[in-house]
């Protein structure tokens, strides 16, 4: 494991009595691609701005490379930011934009020229040096913004929804570009997004946030396959969240039918939430095969798979399957024990958030 580079300790921040971050604790390792993921207003951008030095936390401290930088202004921090709307300097050429940070640091002209050449090559925009920012497309401008940041050789690159303004195809291309850049540069990326697909594609670690609290920290696989609560399950991908009863260890009663599962330690006859991903629901026309019988109520062709809704025991199951079952078709439903994810029920929504943070 790499060493811890950034440590956020007990960070709280409020704007006009509105609590945006409540006692947030998070550490980030060297060379990690960490994504702060959550809906708008969850505090992810505020966290990034505190890291960049554009906001000061009300309480808590930011430790960077074993030094407290909580009060350090942005221009004295060893990290650079890529802004959502590119924020290129409109009165400077691309070259001047890229050279800005290096000129401030008083680097020699030959060093700066080398760096510009290197950076433009790195972002595949060779020969654009003399153009003005507004003559470039959104994707190109964003790549220049990245080039402008990385020539300063920061230890950490902060990216604030950098692909938010781009169209879908470009966004996907840029995701691969960013992964390549990160591997080539070998620096830490801290990435803010509300797009779960982006987070799953690029990250080493995902931090799911909601209402100023961290909901779950983990690898993309862990976040997707083992969500810790209904919020994470719902936010990351599609899912069936069903209120159920834990009969005993490794047996759960879903909608009146017992399903074997693999989770233990939830107690006996305890109400729980069960998460089942739509692709893990197994449908069959052989009505004897499954555990619950239902009727297909919706069918949409999605390209890779069919998306179906199946009404069974009073619950509308979302199902993704490569097999097609027409509307009105009677089917049976089964789920592999491994694919049933059990979660404790929150007593209330607020309590849920607080409890998870502790």
């Amino acid at each position: 494991m790499n060493k811890v580079l950034i440590d956020l300790k007990n960070i709280s921040k409020s704007f006009d009595d509105q609590l945006v971050l409540d006692d947030l604790n998070l550490y980030i390792r060297e060379n990690e691609f960490l994504t702060l993921l959550g809906p708008s207003g969850c505090g992810k951008t505020t966290t990034l701005r505190i890291l960049g030095g554009f906001e000061t936390p009300d309480t808590g401290c930011v430790i960077f490379d074993d030094k407290d930088i909580t009060k350090l202004p942005p221009n004295k921090r060893q990290l650079n930011t890529v802004f959502q709307r590119y924020a290129l300097f409109p009165h400077m050429t691309i070259e001047e934009n890229i050279a800005f940070g290096l000129k401030i640091k008083g680097k020699s002209k030959s060093y700066i020229d080398d760096k510009i050449k290197y950076a433009l090559k790195l972002v595949n925009l060779d020969g654009y040096g003399h153009r003005m920012p507004d003559s470039l497309s959104g994707g190109q401008q964003q790549r220049i913004a990245i080039a402008r940041a990385i020539v300063n050789e920061p230890k950490v690159l902060l990216l604030d929804e950098p692909l938010g303004a781009l169209d879908l195809k470009l966004r996907q291309d840029m995701q691969y570009e960013l992964i390549r850049l990160k591997n080539e540069l070998g620096i830490t990326f801290i990435y803010v997004t509300h797009d779960q697909e982006e987070a799953l594609t690029m990250s080493d670690t995902i931090v799911v946030m909601n209402q100023g609290y961290i909901q779950q920290i983990g690898s993309p696989e862990k976040i997707y396959n083992e969500p810790e609560n209904a919020f994470v399950a719902d936010f990351i991908g599609d899912s069936n969240i069903i209120s159920s009863l834990m009969v005993e260890d490794k047996l759960v009663n879903i909608l009146g039918v017992n399903f074997p599962c693999v989770d233990t330690g939830f107690g006996h006859h305890k109400p729980v939430d069960v998460v089942i991903r739509p692709e893990d629901v197994v449908l069959s026309t052989d009505l004897e095969k499954g555990r619950i019988k239902g009727v297909v109520s919706h069918l949409i062709f999605k390209g890779v798979h069919y998306e179906m809704e199946v009404m069974a025991n009073g619950f509308e199951w979302l199902v993704h399957s490569t097999g097609m079952f027409p509307v009105g078709c009677e089917v049976s439903i089964d789920v592999d024990p491994f694919n049933i994810q059990i979660m404790n029920k929150p007593a209330s929504e607020d309590e849920e958030a607080v409890k998870l943070d502790e």
């Binding site: 960049g52 554009f54 202004p73 802004f83 924020a87 290129l88 940070g101 401030i104």
Partner: protein, 275 residues
């Protein structure tokens, strides 16, 4: 021509008539008078008369004083515009109101108020006298004229600069700081260059009216300080020499055109204009 086009043309008629009667015809008359003598024969003497000592001095003084007033306005307006930009919306609308409030009052009244304030036995001197301080003697001097110009035209400098500054995206400032620039570097490398259109527009809007003014110099300069505006005014009202007055006006117009061409070059997108 289809109906829609015809309608558009008809809608433009009042404006066209207005321009014709109050702008184009008077302008034509200025050129006619400026380029003829009393007998109606063509002559350049009216224009050449700018080179006489008296006229040249009035023009030089007008250029000098309006230049000083413009520089002073710029120095006062820029920090103010920056302060306004950094304020919350509630606070700044109040300050903008305070600034615009005097503009709702008649220009002549405001200048006459300064006359009352600055007079030898005026308000300011009465207060100074009461405090046993030496009296201020700036009425009827170029200083008083510059003061009047700055006072009257300052809002025209503040607003375009404020406009240009408020258009600068905050994230650009943040990006510059993020890349290591301190506040002074941010100002000279980012804020100032990006506000140039506003500065140019402000300079035009202060310099031209200051250059052509005759009311401020008449009220605050007495008859002792003559600007080119006063000379032209006197030719029309007292000497009844419309030919000479028009000739000098044409010369003054040249300076205005030069200024406007310069500002058009620097402010290509018209970003700084606020009217």
């Amino acid at each position: 021509m289809n109906n829609a086009q015809l309608k558009k043309k008809l809608l433009g008629t009042p404006y066209f008539l207005w321009s014709l009667i109050f702008i184009l015809i008077p302008l034509g008359m200025v050129f006619y008078y400026g380029l003829t003598d009393r007998s109606g024969a063509f002559t350049l003497n009216n224009i050449i008369s700018i080179t006489t000592a008296e006229h040249a001095k009035a023009l030089w003084l007008a250029l000098l004083l309006s230049l000083i007033a413009t520089v002073l306005c710029l120095l006062l307006a820029y920090p103010l515009a920056m302060i306004l930009c950094n304020m919350g919306v509630n606070q700044h609308s109040f300050i903008v109101l305070i600034f615009i409030l005097p503009m709702w009052m008649n220009f002549l009244l405001r200048t006459m108020a300064w006359q009352t304030l600055l007079e030898k036995t005026g308000v300011i001197n009465s207060i100074l006298n009461f405090l046993h301080l030496p009296a201020l003697r700036i009425i009827n001097t170029p200083y008083a004229i510059v003061l009047g110009m700055v006072y009257n035209f300052l809002p025209f400098m503040v607003l375009p600069i404020y406009n240009a500054l408020s258009k600068i995206d905050r994230s650009i400032i943040h990006a510059a700081k993020d890349l290591g620039a301190n506040n002074i570097q941010v100002f000279f490398k980012i804020t100032l260059p990006l506000s140039v259109p506003g500065i140019i527009s402000g300079i035009t809007m202060v310099f031209i009216p200051a250059l052509t003014t005759f009311v401020i110099s008449k009220l605050l300069g007495g008859s002792k300080v003559l600007l080119i505006g006063n000379v032209i005014e006197e030719e029309f009202t007292q000497a009844s020499n419309w030919h000479l007055g028009s000739g000098l006006s044409i010369v003054l117009m040249l300076f205005i055109i030069v200024n406007m061409v310069l500002s058009a070059i620097f402010d290509k997108d018209g970003e700084g204009s606020f009217l």
